[in-house]
């Protein structure tokens, strides 16, 4: 099995995922349909896994060296985590979101076959790369979703129609998102130790990652002590998300980021 079979593999998985998601999302005879939908999604994931194993055998090394190869792992792990999260929390939208994200990465590979031979720069060639990125993608998508919920909450607060429902959904998203954010931060630290000799150097990206983390940490603790307050926690989520966006996109423009090891522009 090599990259030539890739379009077929992707087509099969996409079809299974679309059918599966469809069965999971329509609110009708849930009991029977859920089992069928979950099976289809799982088979779709197994197809990707099978492709990775075959490619591994074909290449005679772990397929983790090129941009295209790392995207395969996103395409595998994002659905796996979405699936586990569904089994635990029954969030249908989250499973759909993780399948969509995975599909985007797999599809980019299909559109840009030259990614298969784009070897990553030396510092990125690490077993930590894939887990670090995946965990952060999941954290960011959940925390982004929590901000949307917070916006809705702010609207309801302004209309004075009660926001407890939004807050409790936001709590769940932030708890799970924060768990992934913490894992991403720690994976990053372990990786940095291997690649750059120290686990934490207050590099601008690390600094802003800490600030993002502290923002959601404040939300979690504020909610414990004052569960009835509505406006403040909603504002904390909004502010934390702004920090998250700065951490994600804005770093390159900050004066403090002149020599961040994390700005890979120009390659």
């Amino acid at each position: 099995m090599n990259w030539l079979n890739y379009p077929l593999v992707v087509l099969v998985s996409f079809t299974l995922w679309i059918l599966g998601t469809f069965l999971l999302l329509i609110p009708f005879k849930r009991k029977q349909k859920d089992a069928a939908g979950l099976t289809l999604v799982a088979v779709g994931i197994l197809v990707i896994a099978w492709f990775i194993i075959q490619l591994w055998i074909h290449l005679d090394r772990p397929p983790m060296r090129t941009l295209g190869e790392t995207r395969l792992w996103y395409g595998f792990f994002l659905p796996v985590i979405g699936y586990l999260t569904f089994l635990r929390w029954r969030y249908r939208w989250f499973l759909a979101l993780s399948l969509l994200l995975a599909s985007v990465f797999l599809f980019i590979n299909y559109l840009h076959p030259e990614n298969y031979d784009k070897t990553l720069m030396p510092a990125l060639q690490s077993p930590w790369f894939v887990p670090h990125v995946i965990v952060y993608m999941i954290a960011y998508s959940l925390l982004a979703a929590s901000s949307l919920v917070a916006l809705k909450g702010l609207y309801h607060h302004w209309k004075e129609t009660g926001v407890q429902e939004e807050l409790s959904l936001a709590d769940n998203m932030v708890y799970i998102g924060f768990a992934f954010l913490t894992l991403g931060l720690l994976f990053g630290a372990l990786w940095a130790k291997e690649a750059w000799g120290h686990y934490w150097t207050w590099d601008p990206k690390e600094t802003w990652a800490f600030l993002t983390w502290a923002g959601y940490l404040s939300y979690i603790h504020f909610r414990i002590y004052a569960p009835k307050k509505a406006l403040t926690p909603l504002l904390i989520i909004s502010l934390a998300f702004v920090i998250l966006l700065i951490c994600w996109f804005g770093i390159n423009y900050l004066p403090a980021a002149q020599n961040s090891v994390h700005t890979y522009s120009g390659s």
Binding site: T119, M121, I176, S218, Y225, P255
Partner: protein, 435 residues
């Protein structure tokens, strides 16, 4: 619902227990001002991280203070408050504010304004305000961990993993930073063993291990070929991919031109007839390319080269405005082949690569850099030696935190208490606070 309890409120006079956010944030502000004052008074030099055994003594003292306060004064209002959410958030906010300053000012910047220096902003993590913030943080986090985490119950395991894990990680990372040694050694090909290391301040430090560089090498990607504007040397962006990879047989369309690589030499020199392979130092990569114009049906053939630190680049003009040019190759991997001998007489040889550190005699050794100007002909390689005796403790904390994160994912927000119960909890907490 006593709304005001959270923000201090008018009913309870300022500073009268039980304290809340108002007192907490005032304490944070007080610590911040005190910190800045101390920093300015000491000329903006910051603190030096204590090294062994002082750091260990300080940490044990801090731990003992926390245990002592918890054991004997846990019911005093101030200690009760120190292990509450308002105190915790005040500490987190103070710390976060300082990190925000750190995130907004370049560290360490070359042109430090004197005010910036005297407030400690050129070295935030070593400054007095940061030190005070950390003390406040360790105190609250330590006290809350003891209060809620012990005695250990099944329900408190997640709490304990997260809070104790964080305390241990940060205590070992900050407490141990003074013992961390990072030294670099620059090795030259063809020179004998060297044990001359340099620290961050540029002081020479002799090592108990000596290294000899047998060979430094860089593997490169095939360089990229671009269409450029001859006058400005600017790359002409194409619709999808803007470059052609210099590998024999590869083709790419640049606007009207269809370009193919007829031959590629990774290392070559220009002769009258074109480029020929060469292994001498500085010989740049070169490619023989053919460009066919779809519009005018002309075909051009010629050599292009990226040049190197010794040779100029060679372009191929395709018309009066545009040329084909080769970019400097990018490194795929760089590695140093190194022999070493220790003072005890142990010898060995290893291949050092980025992301693949070596361990010798308690040092972790990393490939750091090479001479940028000469690139793959670099006659030297810089390696870094790192020793961090506290690392096992930091990793212990990190693994507790990871377990805590998994727990958080799996359990989520504890929903066993119905909303009514959370009211009850508040009532109980309030009663406790007032007792």
């Amino acid at each position: 619902m006593e709304k005001d309890r959270y923000s201090g409120g008018q009913r309870r006079p300022f500073w009268q227990p039980p304290w809340g956010y108002r007192e907490g944030l005032s304490i944070s502000l007080g610590l911040l001002i005190t910190g800045f004052a101390l920093e300015a008074a000491t000329g903006g030099t910051g603190l030096k991280s204590p090294s062994f055994p002082y750091n260990l003594v300080i940490l044990i003292a801090l731990l003992n203070v926390i245990l002592f306060l918890h054991a004997f004064f846990r019911d005093k209002p101030v200690i009760r408050w120190l292990s509450s959410v308002p105190a915790s958030l005040s500490a987190i906010i103070l710390l976060t504010f300082l990190v925000l300053l750190l995130g907004l000012t370049p560290q360490p910047s070359i042109e430090t304004h004197v005010i910036q220096k005297h407030l400690g902003l050129s070295h935030v993590v070593r400054s007095y305000p940061f030190f005070l913030a950390m003390l406040f943080f360790f105190l609250t986090l330590g006290l809350v961990t003891l209060r809620r985490g012990f005695p250990v119950k099944k329900k408190s395991i997640g709490f304990l993993l997260n809070h104790a894990g964080l305390w241990i990680t940060l205590a070992a990372a900050f407490g141990g930073s003074g013992d961390m040694q990072r030294l670099t050694v620059t090795l030259q090909e063809g020179k004998d063993y060297s044990n001359n290391a340099v620290n961050a301040e540029g002081e020479g430090i002799p090592l108990s291990i000596a290294f000899k560089l047998l060979d430094f090498s860089i593997e490169e990607y095939p360089p990229k070929i671009f269409l450029i504007q001859t006058s400005s040397l600017e790359i002409v962006k194409q619709k999808q991919v803007s470059y052609l990879e210099s590998t024999q047989g590869k083709k790419h369309t640049f606007g009207d031109w269809e370009v193919q690589v007829l031959a590629f030499l990774p290392s070559a020199l220009q002769q009258d007839t074109g480029f020929i392979q060469s292994t001498i130092m500085g010989a740049p990569p070169a490619a023989l390319v053919e460009a066919k114009s779809k519009g005018t049906a002309t075909t051009l053939t010629g050599w292009i080269s990226s040049g190197s630190f010794m040779y100029p680049p060679v372009f191929m003009r395709v018309d009066e405005k545009y040329s084909l040019a080769m970019a400097a190759p990018e490194a795929r991997k760089y590695s140093s082949d190194i022999e070493f001998i220790t003072r005890e007489g142990k010898t060995g040889r290893f291949l050092l690569e980025v992301n693949k550190p070596e361990k010798i005699n308690g040092w972790k050794i990393y490939q750091v850099s090479y001479q940028a100007k000469t690139g793959k002909w670099s006659p030297e390689s810089t390696i870094e030696l790192v020793r961090d005796p506290w690392l096992p403790v930091v990793y212990t904390g990190i693994f507790l935190l990871m377990a805590g994160a998994l727990y958080l994912f799996w359990i989520g927000k504890d929903r066993k208490k119905s909303p009514g119960d959370s009211d009850k909890k508040e009532v109980i907490m309030q009663q406790m606070e007032q007792s």
